[in-house]
Assembly symmetry: C2
């Protein structure tokens, strides 16, 4: 674990999540009516800021538990909610420009609170129907689930594990570039963990599929929630058996082996560096820093 | 990473997953018609064995891609499928006694293949309808997704990350017991990772919620797919700040601090040990072994 200041974005959630109160209707009604209760605002799925904080407003006097998610309680015990989005909310799978701007303004705990709220609001907007039977579902567990009144199935918000990794070979690390990246940006390779797979297996499979690189000695480095819409980034290093890249051009536009000097120059923002590094909000930035500090 | 023989169950998946072929109808039709193509059989969600192997049968001549999941290709290039389950398949959230029996008979790679097939078949059985709009969905990507013909949403199989961890204090580790455990069984504490949470945050939250223990220095140990129905177990150790247990009796029946000698006795099956250890199929067994070998 790293200290708060050096963490990637969305990794500093600081509220008490109140898991023990989520299924207690009496306690929830008290939290909703609490004089210090507030809700954070989203515009669509984008954050609404107030300086370094997310904007907070009191709840309407007729606010209802079935349209509000309890995010948790702050240090003073004040409950914090977010309202479900309007029908037709666009899907939050893509990273929104507004979030990049806000991320520079918001403190780490506020950005993390926003990320959690965004994932949950997006999940509710895309899970109004029961996958088991097709009937409309209703919010349950203070927003941490949905229940089907027809077949009684319970559904829980998704958290999708993604591995993101640096293959190392002879003092260099493998970096790749997706076509959608900004110009000259390179980053660590990444991919979703599949059913029936260990994290170590997913790291090895993705590096082989995307770059033809076989690895051993996968080592965990750190994790990060990434709310676009609901990923859990799991960052690792691995030792490559050789350095012959066979690119999967459906996934990557280009890949190369970066030296420690290349990485140091890119992390320092040197215009002569052979690539532009991912920003501090991304776990790949911290993974590169971890690697360059270890060699 | 550990070698195959010392891995927990379900962690030795050995097929080529053929990710690059899943969206290629021509390649998939060839795999389905391949003379060496086989399907493994499930009875409900239970495995059907043939000695140390899962039973394999040729595909019916009229087998269809929209009712079969491509699990992958074996070392000889033979494609392996599993058929979707019949309507009304019971939910696979609970561990089935038949699986415990079979796990002792099947080799590690076969058990892992079964686990992957079980997770996927169960997911399809519980995701016949679109969560976005409620319309019936159809298998896509060779069984690694479902598509809604009505709203065009794409859905992917769930992988739900779960942290499982040993808090350490003064040469002892915290073990707990859920009411549903067999008599005298104790294990590591565990819980689902939530949206907006790092793995390290989930470890700290669960230990505090279930046992009132505050921790620091969370360290990743290993991971394991656990197909009941779709968990990814992520095992860790952490340093406890003190040893005063405040039990959440809704989650745990009892918890105690086990010494290295206690753990060694339990792992050796000593009837005088103060508890019965989790079996080698469970990642908790390997986490305990990792810890006891490190102290």
């Amino acid at each position: 674990m790293t200290d708060t200041a050096s963490r990637p974005g969305f990794s500093s959630f600081a509220l008490d999540r109140c898991d023990d109160l989520r299924s207690d209707p009496h306690a929830l009604a008290e939290l909703l009516a609490h004089p210090a209760a507030r809700q954070i605002l989203l515009r669509g799925l984008d954050p609404v800021g107030d300086g370094a904080q997310l904007a907070r407003v009191p709840l309407a006097h007729d606010a209802r538990l079935d349209t509000h998610i309890l995010l948790g309680k702050d240090e003073e015990g004040a409950p914090l909610f977010v309202a479900l989005g309007p029908p037709g909310l666009p899907h939050g799978g893509q990273f929104a420009p507004r979030v990049w701007e806000m991320a520079a303004e918001l403190g780490p705990e506020e950005l993390s609170l926003y990320g959690c709220a965004r994932s949950l609001v997006d999940w509710h907007a895309r899970h109004g129907f029961c996958a088991v039977c097709g009937a409309p579902t209703a919010l349950s567990r203070a927003g941490w689930g949905r229940r089907c009144p027809s077949c009684n199935a319970e559904h829980f918000p998704r958290v999708d594990p993604v591995v993101i990794m640096l293959a190392e070979h002879d003092g260099r690390v493998l970096l790749g570039r997706q076509p959608r990246f900004p110009p000259r940006r390179f980053s660590a390779l990444a991919g979703f963990v599949e059913p029936g797979e260990t994290l170590e297996g997913a790291v090895a499979r993705e590096l082989y599929e995307e770059a033809g690189i076989r690895v051993r000695n996968v080592r965990y480095v750190m994790s990060q929630p990434w709310p676009f819409p609901s990923s859990l980034m799991i960052a690792a290093t691995a030792e490559a058996e050789d350095d012959v890249i066979t690119l999967d051009e459906k996934e990557l536009e280009h890949a190369f082996w970066a030296s420690a000097d290349d990485v140091r120059a890119a992390m320092a923002g040197d215009p002569a560096a052979p690539f532009i590094a991912p920003p501090p909000m991304a776990v790949a930035h911290h993974l590169l820093r971890h690697w360059v500090e270890s060699v």
